[in-house]
């Protein structure tokens, strides 16, 4: 593994020890870090501001565990993609917005709010992004009914 990537992972473990639930290294360039929802601001700010990662996008889905969000960050110099994985409870899916740290999170949070009904706290404008005025309120098209 690239020593720079190794160093980042070691640093992450050291700095945010109790908040890092698990680290999965699929290969040299794909790392997934499981974290609790409340740690997202601190860890994403560390990656973005201190380590100069680029925010790619976030993917959300509904599973048996609740709502899962993968925040994808890229460390372009090394080709590393780091996924920050959070699980939100099905009954109250809400998490802090990342728009305070970088503008790039604005649209995707609006989209996740719209298609899955996840609430982003402190987002400046949670209006609909892709179905303005032509979709029913309170109906979330990407929600599934997971088999119990």
């Amino acid at each position: 593994m690239n020593p720079e990537i190794k160093n980042i992972i070691e640093d992450l473990k050291e700095k945010f020890d109790p908040e890092i639930l698990n680290i999965t290294e699929k290969n040299d360039k794909r790392v997934t870090v499981d974290i609790p929802g409340k740690a997202i601001i601190n860890i994403s700010q560390y990656l973005y501001h201190d380590r100069h990662f680029r925010f790619i996008i976030a993917s959300a889905l509904e599973t048996k565990k609740g709502f899962e969000i993968y925040y994808h960050f890229s460390f372009d110099r090394t080709g590393l993609i780091m996924n920050l994985h959070v699980i939100l409870p099905a009954e109250k899916p809400e998490i802090e917005s990342l728009t305070g740290s970088f503008e790039g999170a604005n649209w995707i949070e609006r989209e996740m709010h719209e298609i899955l009904g996840i609430n982003f706290l402190n987002h400046p404008n949670l209006e609909k992004l892709i179905s303005q005025g032509n979709w029913a309120e309170g109906v979330y098209p990407y929600r599934k009914k997971p088999l119990s």
Partner: protein, 397 residues
Amino acid sequence: MGNKKIIPIGPYHPLQEEPELFKLYCDGEIVRDIKWETGYNHRGIEKLSESKTFDQVFFLVERVCGICSTSHPFAFANCIEEIANVEIPDRAKYIRSIIGEMERIHSHLLWVGLAGHFLGYNTVFMWVWKYREPILDLFEIITGNRNSYAMFKLGGVRRDIPNHLIPSIRKILAEFIPKLDLITGAVMDDPVIHARTKGVGVLTKEDIIDFAAVGPTARASGVAIDVRKDDPYAAYPLVNWKVITAEEGDVFAKTEVRLLEMYESVSIIEQCLDKLEHIKEGEIDVKVKNVPEGMGTGHAEAPRGEVFHFMITDGGYTPVRHKIRAPSYVNIATFKKSCVGQTISDATISLAAVDPCYCCTERMAMVYDYFTKKPLMGTRELLKLSHEKTENIRRRI
């Protein structure tokens, strides 16, 4: 917004080929704020993908965008081959890169032409689109289609580039270079284009990082990111080429980056063709029996920037979740910085500068008799004409 006047651009407007609505809040001639509405042609492709098998998803993602119709299959192939842990044959790698670079050339030419049109410089538009045609013919010779090439599949490519075609491809590329020189000279040395584009729609390095912008938009502001170099895939690590950047961040810098990138693309294609000649024909795919349970991320450098695909699989035949992020998704948001403070006339080219693409490809053609209203030509007849045209082009070279 106070008592500022709203100038609407769209939803259907000759400035852009696709539906979108920009509201420019103007104070006299100066744009003070901008708001936009998109989603006019949201087709739910991510959701649709969950009901398709992995082989079918290739055809589906090809239709995300008509202009970068190889970039999405490219990123998807990287994503799914990461999950299935597949290594494709060398010949397939070179063919993938050749198609990817040809697409970059035709897409950049399309943009340069449209930019000329937006500036009221229609000579540039006519010339550039005329010289784009041989590239589209080349696509037709290799893949059978001018667009939506259906070349990619899980584990390789669907068609080979036979070695006997390589000299003709080289000839078309050799003829293209003087035309590219002409276009580059015409754009880079023209005082009118300088006056209209220099210092217009400037995005700083900080803006790019804040908005997470990608592609030529980022590279024109001095942010040297390019997936082909940073996380090499297909044949890009096997050939020599360089990332083109500029520092100014204005519309002129974006034009410069795109024009110079085309030279790199031609060089990459030529190097790939050199390599193809020494690899046995026909070895273009490997068999993939099943896609295991897992998670994959794949990205590829489209003409507009990084295309990103993320997929979760459960060991079955269809994706559980498939997230697609097109480059315009992050680039369009930068309008907030590039247009505000400009005059209305400069705002149009600033809007066009990121080469926005709102992903529309739905279409169907029927030819009716004007008087009897009876259909003269349907799918079958048009397809027959299309096949005849492809054969004609193939005979001509």
